[in-house]
């Protein structure tokens, strides 16, 4: 399946892209990250420490091991700093 993968803040800067379309058979964000790490050294560095990251499926915060199911858009980003 094709998934839109979005990056924000320093993750976006480190990878050098804000969005990419990934053809994947990953069942979870954890598996998707394994595939993303293989794309480039930038991706590998960005996803080196997942304790520094958060994930949203179709614009809802979730956990890395939640099944992707029919998710169309996966966003990775650092902990939020609003307010």
């Amino acid at each position: 399946m094709k998934i839109d993968v979005l990056y924000f803040a320093w993750l976006r800067e480190r990878i050098g892209e804000s969005r990419e379309v990934i053809e994947t058979s990953a069942a979870t964000a954890t598996e998707l990250m394994d595939e993303l790490r293989a794309l480039s050294p930038h991706h590998a560095a960005a996803f080196a420490d997942i304790s520094a990251l958060r994930v949203a499926y179709d614009q809802e915060l979730t956990d890395f091991d939640t099944p992707l199911g029919n998710t169309r858009e996966v966003a990775f980003f650092p902990p939020m700093t609003g307010g």
């Binding site: 924000f8 949203a56 614009q59 966003a75 980003f77 650092p78 939020m80 700093t81 609003g82």
Partner: protein
Amino acid sequence: MDIRVQSAPFDPGQLLSEFTARQSTSGAVVTFTGLTRDLEGTLATMEIEHYPGMTEKALAQIATEAQTRWPLDDVLILHRHGALKPTEPIMMVATASKHRKAAFEAADFLMDYLKSRAPFWKKEVTADGANWVVAKDEDEAALKAWER
């Protein structure tokens, strides 16, 4: 409920006046306005990135949660994105209720949640370079206190 995500500046006084004028059954309005701190004069700009689409949804979810916990007549959340100058207003929340306790508590709750659960990321740009603001452990701890 009034949720606004915008890059344009806003006038907190005008927003409060408009919000207050809309209330017909409330006895209390509480507001919080967040300003860009100037880091002792070193901050050039504060850049605020967000996740269009998710931002509006997350803010509405947080406002709805506040309305289920407290008897609120109305809720307003405005949050800016883009490049802000030192001392500019970044965001504002307002709550209206029959009594002040609910309005105060709900405003506090909204602030705690939108600091760590709304998809905004702040970057401080100074003469020495640019740094992403790091989330504080105490912000996450503040959310735990509201769990039930």
